[in-house]
Amino acid sequence: MTPTLADLQPLTLDVALLIGAFALLVLDLFLPHGRKRVLGTLTFVLITGVLVASFFVDVSGSAFSEAYRGTAWALAWKRIALVSGALATLGAIDHVDRHFGRRQGEFYLLLLFCLSGMTILPGVRDLIALLVCFELMGIPLAVLAAYAKTDDKAGVHRHATEAGLKLYIVSAVSTAITVFGLSLVYGMSGSTQLAVIAQAPLSPLLSVGMFLTLAGLSFKVGAVPFHMWIPDTYEGAPTPVVAFLSVAPKATGFAALAALLLGAFRANEAPLSSVLLIFVVASILLGNVMALPQTDSKRLLGYSGIAQVGYMLIGLATANRYGMGMLLFYVAGYVVSNMGVFFVLEAVASERTGSDVSDLDGLVRRSPWLGMALLIFLLSLAGIPFAVGFWAKLFIFMAAYQSGHTFLVLLGSLMAIVALFYYLGLARAAFMQPPKNPAPVKLPLPLMAAILICLLSVVGMGLYPSPFLQVAASAADAFFVTR
């Protein structure tokens, strides 16, 4: 019963990540101010290393008396988190170095801690651990969002603070609600283990607990009506952070929701799934429509992200292996596409503070390849063929159609066209407007690398999605076998 070192075997990767983080913490203390840039590189190396290791180390099996179980499903989410972490680091290095001066170390450490929370969570099968991981992910995010050059006069500080604060308040309240809900769940089921909870008889108090938990967690994925912090935070927070914030927590949030709803709450029984459908419709409609009038590209992407979450929730709402596999694929595609866009924004707006759409003006003439990349990312988000986003949407629709939600397919594809309107609005600035300053965008190497990686994966997964689809499907199988 007492945990041994063997119990850490399924958690090898996460432990490695944490050890690396502590090493960096120590290193940070000894690095002189001028040299802190190297921390970013090291962080990237660390995360990438763990990612690579994830292909060689066997992390299956359960630990801590069923509190954690490493499965293909968990591994898939782990990798998604790691990828987004690595990309975020890559995209942030330059920004951090320029703006956060001597506080770089903390930035990367917080990122790493947050990331470790994300990597552990998908395999967790115990309410308490789940909650703790969720918080480990959440608390650093609020700090990262508020990260800003405190001595600048251009109001970054104001906005970043506001972004962080809003995220913090919302997440704190959600946590309170979640904990309250979980307390009821535990109380009515007598255990904190998902598997046991799934057996508990359904009583009003239990389902209230479930719903409170659902309400508490779904703010992290930003489903309507728990979405309202998203646009503000995205607009205010530093772009590289937003790039991370806009994908990783959503991914992990979905992992958590999946674990709870399907693992413990039997979402495939009404009324949970119908509630999810409400979330889906609301998110798709509101997110897309609200994005239309936006003039700040980060804010716009915030709203569009809400809509995207609506699509992902479809996968969750189907509550079958097909749907879950497609959800996984969708998230993977969304990670690369969305981060790509934010990196391009970062590259364009790097000197300035805001992120007005007009910053993109004439991009394709300033630096053609950057413009092309932006276009491809946007088309991928809009779900246009031969970009990964297309397959993602398609598969989700297939899942929806298969489980009888034909109207969701119709609604989804129609709203996807509304989405195309504002995505093309960004493309319009880049392609049809004359550039404000014709000088080519100067692109720091790490950022360029990040954009390139995103581009390659978007196009690659778009041209030949089948292997990734395979992985997603088998992961979903694993989830349903072991839940």
Partner: protein, 522 residues
């Protein structure tokens, strides 16, 4: 090598423009000549390929030939599978001709050639892909590819128009500048994509009804679908694809779009892309859902008839030359849909042949409009007059195109329209023929009327100083298209035989399935 080419001719045709596009992207932007040459080569290779396919298509054998297949998403049974039937053969040829002439016609383009040609060629390989793909899903993929570059092509290189606000919806004008190129581009893209949304739903329905194992068209075609599915899926396909074919009332993207688009794009869009829509309705809608087709045929035909007359009359009311041609396309696509709706051999032959004929005719038209606009710097007809004095050849070509569009025997247009009318008269709704025929007459009225007010009458006024006949590469385009019009008009069997084979293979199946379904479920 040659063997490889022979084995993968279709892939070559589809890939050639795409490769050319990539090469163009890699070329330095200032090297205009290299860009033009490359794009021309890309288009030309595709054309040669198309001709080769036509030459080597075994008319005795018929059916699908030159099949190639590569699994794309095996989990869902999506294969990248190509093959041609009689229809594909002819439409490949059409596309080849149009793109080559289109590239030639836009040699004189001035700004940002690099992106322009790259997008143009991408679009074209999408079109080729649609005509050869034998996998419903890949069909849809290429369809999207063919539709999308249009946004940038029109939005960046298009030309502006203005429409003054009035009518019941005048308040809308405060948000859009109607007639502007970006408006046109956006409207076109969105309307067509709404169409493809509908298509997607129908496709999913078909796919899962067929077992959800494969998107292969042959497999889907051999399945017999429940009547209910057919009845709801067919209209989705009809209106979805139809919106690209300019089916009333989803045609309004076409006038603005074509008017705003640059020459080559209008040529390609009206010449080939609108055909994709009609082709989709027949190839997917009618062949896969015969019962649905039979049930909805009266609607399809009725709307098509509206298209014919409505388009023609709207064209008649226009002052802007490009709008006239655009509306005429709407009208002529109505003829195509009418032929499709007849569900008769002659009707279908006519429909496909009309795609072919109208493609070249409208291509020629838009090429000429481009030239006239480039020289006169106006498209407003009342401002013109007597141009024939300075540009006799252009006047001649324009008249030729006009004659073909009004169905003058000896030119391609006649064959198609005549076949369609014959089919209509043989069909279950013979009276469709009447408005169809009248439409041809109205066409005569507005086309020749336009020709008169542009080219004839008292000589051009002073401020048209640089009116002149075509220059180097433009000649080639005009001559090629006109020659095709005459050639295929006087000896239609060059193409019609191929079309006929395919029709004869497909139509009986449709009829039979429809029949047996009808008896199964009275």
């Amino acid at each position: 090598m040659t063997h490889f080419l022979h084995a993968h001719m279709l892939s070559v045709i589809v890939a050639a423009p795409l490769l050319a596009a990539l090469v163009v992207l890699l070329l330095p932007a200032r090297d205009g000549l290299a860009i033009r040459i490359t794009s021309f080569m890309g288009a030309f290779v595709a054309l040669i390929g198309a001709v080769q396919v036509l030459r080597t298509y075994d008319t005795e054998l018929g059916g699908l030939q030159r099949a190639e297949s590569v699994p794309l998403v095996p989990q869902l049974g999506i294969d990248l599978s190509f093959a041609v039937d009689g229809w594909g053969v002819s439409l490949l040829l059409l596309t080849g001709i149009i793109i080559v002439t289109g590239v030639l016609a836009s040699f004189t383009l001035e700004e940002r050639e690099k992106e322009f040609f790259a997008l143009l060629l991408t679009l074209v390989s999408g079109v080729f892909g649609v005509f050869v793909s034998q996998d419903l899903f890949v069909f849809f993929l290429f369809y999207e590819i063919a539709v999308l570059p249009m946004y940038l092509l029109i939005g960046v290189w298009g030309s502006h128009g203005k429409v003054q606000a009035q009518g019941p919806f005048a308040y809308v004008w405060k948000r859009f500048e109607i007639g502007g190129r970006e408006y046109a581009a956006m409207k076109l893209t969105l309307m067509l994509l709404v169409g493809s949304a509908a298509i997607l739903v129908a496709i999913l329905g078909i796919y899962f009804a067929a077992g959800g194992t494969s998107f292969n068209l042959a497999h889907l075609g051999n399945t017999t679908y429940p009547k209910a599915l057919q009845l709801w899926a067919f209209p989705l396909l009809w209106l979805g694809f139809g919106s690209l074919a300019g089916v009333f009332p989803f045609h309004t993207w076409s006038p603005d779009g074509h008017a705003a688009a640059p020459t080559a794009v209008s040529m390609l869009h009206a010449g080939v892309l609108m055909k994709l829509g009609a082709f989709g309705v027949i190839r997917v809608g009618m062949l896969l859902l015969p019962e649905g087709a039979r049930y909805w045929a009266p609607w399809v035909g009725g709307v098509a008839v509206i298209n014919v007359l409505y388009g023609a009359l709207s064209a008649m009311s226009q002052k802007d030359l490009k709008y006239i041609i655009a509306y005429s396309s709407v009208s002529h696509m109505g003829v195509v849909m009418l032929g499709a709706a007849t569900l008769t051999v002659d009707g279908w032959n006519g429909a496909i042949y009309q795609m072919f004929a109208h493609g070249m005719m409208t291509g020629l038209f838009f090429a000429l409009v481009g030239l006239i606009y480039g020289r006169a710097h106006t498209r407003i007809i009342p401002n013109m007059g007597g141009f024939a004095k300075r540009m006799p050849w252009i006047a001649g070509f324009f008249t030729l195109a006009g004659l073909s569009s009004l169905g003058l025997p000896g030119l391609a247009g006649f064959v198609a329209e005549f076949l369609v009318f014959m089919g209509a008269w043989q069909s279950a709704h013979p009276w469709w023929a009447v408005p169809g025929i009248l439409g041809a007459w109205v066409t005569a009225v507005y086309v020749l009327g336009a020709a008169r007010s542009i080219f004839f009458g008292a000589g051009p006024s002073e401020h048209f100083h640089d009116l002149h006949d075509p220059k180097k590469s433009e000649w080639a385009a005009l001559w090629a298209l006109s020659a095709c019009l005459i050639l295929f008009g006087s000896y239609p069997r060059l193409i019609l035989d191929f079309i006929h084979i395919a029709t004869n293979e497909y139509l009986p199946r449709v009829a039979e399935v429809a029949q047996q379904l009808a008896v199964v479920k009275p």
